[in-house]
């Protein structure tokens, strides 16, 4: 079954300790919805706030996330789903879409042979 990375983008600095009780409640029920729609979360991580990030471009090291934007990467999970329609239906229900957004991107599998 295909696997997708679902990359969570939230308003900077995306501190997981600042998540509202409402958000946490939605997150609590998310797993059940994923299963109901026919997907499985293989693995997932939340990240420390973007203020803790360090970026390196060429040989320049800078304090902060790689792209300066209103929203930053807050975490990601790997989703197994039968096709993109199912993956998108699941991603749409993620609470991150309320004030940020998610990117759904297939994991690369090297061609067989």
């Amino acid at each position: 079954m295909p696997q997708y990375a679902v990359i969570i983008h939230s308003p900077a600095p995306a501190d997981p300790m600042d998540l509202t009780p409402d958000y946490l409640a939605l997150l609590e029920g998310y797993g059940a919805k994923v299963a109901e729609l026919g997907g499985t979360i293989v693995t997932g991580f939340a990240l420390e706030p973007s203020t803790t990030a360090t970026s390196i471009r060429g040989d320049v090291v800078t304090d902060g996330p790689f792209t300066e934007a209103k929203e930053v990467v807050a975490g990601f999970f790997v989703l197994e789903a039968p096709d993109l329609d199912v993956a998108l239906a699941i991603a749409k229900l993620n609470p991150a879409t309320i004030d940020g957004g998610v990117e759904v991107r297939p994991l690369f599998t090297p061609p067989a042979g």
Binding site: P2, L84, P106, P111, A112, G113
Partner: protein, 418 residues
Amino acid sequence: MNETERAVADAHRHEWAFVLAATARVTGDFDLAEECVQDAYIAALDAWARDGVPRKPGAWLTQTARRKALDLLRRDKVFRAKMPLLVEPDPGGADVNLTDPDDIPDEIPDDRLRLVFTCCHPALAREAQVALTLRLVCGVTTPDIARAFLVSEPTMAARITRAKKKITAARIPYRVPVAADLPERLDAVLSVIHLLYTTGHTAPSGAGLVRTDLVDRAVALTRMLLALMPDEPEVRGLLALLLLTDARRASRTDARGRLVVLEDQDRSLWDRRAIAEGRDLAVAAFRTGRAGRYALQAAIASLHAVADSPATTDWRQIVALYGLLLKIWPSPVVALNRAVAVAMVDGPAAALEEVDLLATDERLAGYHYLPAVRADLLRRLKRHEEAAGAYRAAIALADNEAERKFLESRLAEVVDSP
């Protein structure tokens, strides 16, 4: 062109979508399917010259393309690994046994809807949807698509390749959406066809006003869709709209290619048969009680089409229909069109008030019809100086040569007026 070549060309126009859709189900890959379908059409040139044109050219081509696909798949294990990508295991549906070409059933499932919905999947950008639909559903070559959209051939080729790659890599499913998603997904398909049509109808830039090939493709595509989805009033509505708009094609430009606006058009040049068909379709779409934006626009177009002159047009009814349209489709462009009809009922001063309100809408910034409509209303109010300013603003924004020429001639008129 001899008889065989004509038969093959005919089959290309009418059967391409069917053959490709059925072959893609076997290959699970659009590139391979296209290759096999091309080969089948080439093989047809010889075989049909030798044995005569088959009774069902589409079935012949499909069998040939699917056999070629199976041969290739058997030889190449890499393709085999790709196979399940597009194939949607149909519960209860007989999927092809890929190991034996003789197992291909005689009844070939009609997969054209799958093909259309996959090409117009919302995960693809609109321009990619349009290009893929022309390439895969209509069988138009990449150089021709590039020409139609005035981009270079490598750019168009890259756009199509990228879209196909996304379908494969992201596993965009090859299927007709479930009932719950159908209205939204169908709307995307209709938007793609409508965009195809409008691109052909008012070529956004360049010299000619109409690109006939795109217009004809859009109409043919809608006819195909209606045959496949006869119960969808919006498909009927779109076909009605396209026929009614296109019925005026011959009168939209004069002998020198200059734009002629609706009120000045020679109505004897209008295609009465297309108008009759469009009108019947619009009425049928209305009768379902589920008329959407295409059916409403078709109803408006049919009121124009059946009138002998602007003076005898039922403008009151048109204003009312635009009101309904605005309710389900709150677009400033619709409001602008409504204002044009208001001018005919309540006079240019009333319409100008509405247009000036719309001028503050950011979504209309850069839209050349707004200053063009304003200019026309000011001209009718004999406020020539202001009209000239508005015409100049419209000219600066218009890309189409025929439209710009028209605006320039109107500008010259108001400048010369006392």
